[in-house]
Symmetry: C2
Subunit: 328 residues, 2 copies
Amino acid sequence: MKDADQSGHTPVVVALAGGVGGAKLAYGLHRALGERLAVVVNTGDDFEHWGLTVCPDLDTVLYNLAGLNNPEFGWGLAGESHAALAMMRRYGGESWFSLGDGDLATHLLRTERLRAGLNLTQVTFELRTALGVTAELLPMSDQPVRTVVHSDEGVLPFQRYFVQRRCEPRLLRLEFAGMEGARPSPQVLAALARAEAVVLCPSNPYLSLDPILLLPGLAERLRVFAGPVVAVSPIVGGQALKGPAAKIMAELGVEASALAVAQHIAGRIRLDGFVLDAVDAHLADAVASLGVTPLVTDTIMHDAASKERLAREVLALAVRLVRRPTSE
Amino acid sequence: MKDADQSGHTPVVVALAGGVGGAKLAYGLHRALGERLAVVVNTGDDFEHWGLTVCPDLDTVLYNLAGLNNPEFGWGLAGESHAALAMMRRYGGESWFSLGDGDLATHLLRTERLRAGLNLTQVTFELRTALGVTAELLPMSDQPVRTVVHSDEGVLPFQRYFVQRRCEPRLLRLEFAGMEGARPSPQVLAALARAEAVVLCPSNPYLSLDPILLLPGLAERLRVFAGPVVAVSPIVGGQALKGPAAKIMAELGVEASALAVAQHIAGRIRLDGFVLDAVDAHLADAVASLGVTPLVTDTIMHDAASKERLAREVLALAVRLVRRPTSE
């Protein structure tokens, strides 16, 4: 991060993100950074539904960055209708996954373009450009990776577990099918080559971040990344703000805490900074003892202003953590 | 038509239909005949849109038989919304063909099932059964036939001509691509083998009926069909009730009249009876001079009752025209 200082340099940032929490911070980062942001998104949740390729995490980030997301759910489009779903029910078709009508346009376009021979990165470029998103939006890989849940009710494709079964089965272990053959896309590697800092958004560390961090070559690439790597805890006061992170951590025998998240991430990559919510201030010393610089602040993002405020605090932490070349 | 008489026998009927007018009479026939009806539908209008296989005529008949059609347009679903279309516009995608949100479920299911290896007849069986339609609903063929319009603005795929260009280009001639390799489906031939009468619905003779009648083998099959063949004029008082039939006839150098429709059909197959609107009563003698029995009645179908009344008049004409075996 050349010329980095605390008085105004806007770094070029790669953010890693999954679902709603990640999308919220990505929105804040986009407000702060504009086209200096590249968001790398988990594709382990992707699946085929109604014959369409559906990428829930990519779309959640896309809609959030475009300001089109449903403000209540965080995912899906604002003001969405569900006439196709109602008709699908009438036909006795699959109706356990609620695809909205406007949302269908995204999946239809994506599927048509993929069938025409474009890869997911190229299609995503077209979609985000059409919606006026200036940040790069990058699926982690163009090779399919599919999260599979091994549970006490058997083996479930991710969305069957997550949506149809509402995360009720007890998780035994996660499998990322296709991972060994997948690679970070060239665009992801290029974004990292340009980046001055990496931000891990407050996404589920097991379901959203692990698929990215376990991509062959990516953790190695992050290990030699020269800039700061900072993460934001998705666990606040022992609870997940949204989603099953706390339940999953308990089932995996890990204490559901911000500290455990920091430990988990630090076990995968080099982690320089970690942002905890004020209610977890008592964990800051334990985070520091991991060799990770803690930042305690309000991490609840309830509107555009709070998303941008948190993003700017995260960026300020990253700028503070720039490692001066030892030759200086 | 064994035991046929005018006092109550309900014949088994095959109806040939295309768009809205055909679907209206098919609805009336369905009310009169229930499962004794098989509707054979033009597939020349079918096309690929948004990566989906769309069958406008099949769906118009399906929605009409199921009582789900938009009562104002005659096609599409009642109370339809267009959120997917709006989002598609936002993406800069194809938006010239107005696919409704509920309607999308039909195309999504169809496309998924076709990709899974079912043929169009099998898929249509699933759709009409799910919607409680007891009549057989049969695409004319499982091999694709695509209507192509040669016009003064060049060669246009049918829906580009019909919807995008609103039939404005002057039609020079019609081409039915794939026709030579297409055959009536086994289910169409089986329905004809069971049928006691054939009804040609008031559909565009060039765009909707010709693709069916020109299917290799079908006209020959109808020529040896033992029961009566009756048609209903889509031209009333020199005008098409809906659609471009009159304009097309003029462009093809044919007078737009009910008589010309009777002549056109009688040039393709053996025609026994022809139903004209009361405003065309003066053409009845000319129809009779073709060797075709005319029936003059009110052919305007504005509600369920008038559809069923016309259907019952058409059926009564067919029953009257049963040719007694010469051996009796």
